[in-house]
């Protein structure tokens, strides 16, 4: 029902900007545009990042699957493989710790006046992404196809109704948050 809306390119650019604006506002209010908070999470001293991510996962999981049941949203799971997702994810993690921001939070950090993010980090990410574009033909012949699992979701993999996974997973994730609070973290 929104397809005419989705195909209006200039309108979509404005919507993207608006969604980004709110996203950036939330990231800044959540304190996750801070190097100290992000690295604090990676050192298990500060659990702000996990609290925000887990709450967003639970809310989004229920919301997006609910909208999908109503026919208002479609899922777009990403294609992956062990060579791509696991190896790339570990490399990302190393960079994440060295830089102390991720691609979304660095944009928020720049907006907040963090010059290490702006001058050092941003140029690094752009450079790194460009290097990857050059390495891509080689990697796509060698490592990336290893252990391919397609663009699957867990409900598809286990052939169950999504809610069979969402309900217990949401309960477990809320339990994790409750435990973090109880432990004073």
């Amino acid at each position: 029902m929104f397809s005419a809306f989705h195909s209006n390119k200039s309108l979509q650019l404005v919507i993207g900007l608006g969604i980004g604006f709110i996203f950036g506002f939330l990231l800044q209010k959540g304190n996750v545009a801070e190097y100290d908070v992000i690295v604090g999470q990676l050192l298990f001293r500060d659990f702000t990042v996990v609290k925000i991510m887990v709450t967003a996962m639970v809310t989004g999981m229920i919301g997006v699957h609910g909208l999908r049941s109503l026919g208002l949203a479609q899922l777009h799971p990403k294609h992956g493989s062990l060579g791509m997702t696991l190896v790339g994810g570990l490399i990302f993690g190393v960079g994440f710790a060295v830089l102390g921001y991720c691609p979304g939070t660095i944009a928020a950090a720049v907006g907040q006046g963090k010059m290490d993010a702006c001058v050092g980090g941003l140029t690094g990410i752009i450079f790194g992404a460009g290097l990857y574009a050059h390495a891509f033909p080689y990697l796509s012949r060698t490592i990336l196809p290893r252990g391919d699992f397609g663009a699957q979701t867990f409900p598809e993999l286990f052939r169950v109704n999504p809610w069979v996974i969402i309900v217990p997973l949401a309960v477990a994730l809320v339990g994790l948050l409750y435990w973090l609070e109880r432990a004073g973290l």
Binding site: I19, G80, M84, V94, G128, A129, G130, A133, F149
Partner: protein
């Protein structure tokens, strides 16, 4: 009435619920999951295009897949900069800072070591984000909430690699 907009900090749960709802809005209004890292790849492509020209660039398989142009996600990342800036200005937290305090407490407040480290970390992360096909937003939030196998595997790898690396860096610094 709008004083909450000027607070320096919101509860992480309020922020998380906000991001979850915003993801729902993105799916309905744009039929897209929130993500950030392809914007950096497209920017890199646009910069390389200035040097080598469009034809050469589109000979590259990667840029045929991720055409260097300003798209929805690129505008989203621009929006993040502006939204964070607005939030920081409203709360009086906007301030030019060159060296983060946790870094300074361990490695000193000299500018150059932090900038070089941030640049190197950026290269590794930019490379890894495109290798993995997404970042903490695209995989970590949007992928996991869709229950995508790739999203959950990626988020485990991000935090495993990040946790290990951060503890090595900070144990070196004493």
């Amino acid at each position: 009435m709008l004083t909450f907009l000027t607070l320096t900090e919101w509860s992480p749960y309020a922020v998380g619920i906000g991001i979850g709802l915003l993801s729902c809005v993105a799916f309905v209004l744009s039929d897209k999951p929130i993500g950030c890292s392809t914007a950096f790849a497209r920017t890199s492509g646009m910069l390389e295009e200035l040097v080598r020209g469009r034809g050469k660039l589109l000979d590259m398989a990667y840029y045929r897949q991720f055409v260097p142009e300003i798209d929805w996600e690129w505008m989203l990342v621009l929006g993040v900069v502006l939204g964070a800036c607005a939030s920081a200005l409203l709360s009086g937290e906007f301030r030019v800072e060159w060296v983060p305090s946790l870094w300074a407490a361990t490695f000193g407040s000299e500018l150059l070591p932090r900038l070089v480290t941030a640049f190197c970390g950026g290269i590794i992360m930019g490379f890894g984000a495109r290798w993995a096909g997404g970042c903490t937003s695209g995989h970590g939030i949007s992928g996991t909430l869709q229950l995508a196998v790739s999203g959950w595997l990626a988020v485990v790898a991000f935090f495993a690699g990040g946790g290990l690396t951060a503890s090595i860096i900070y144990s070196l610094g004493g």
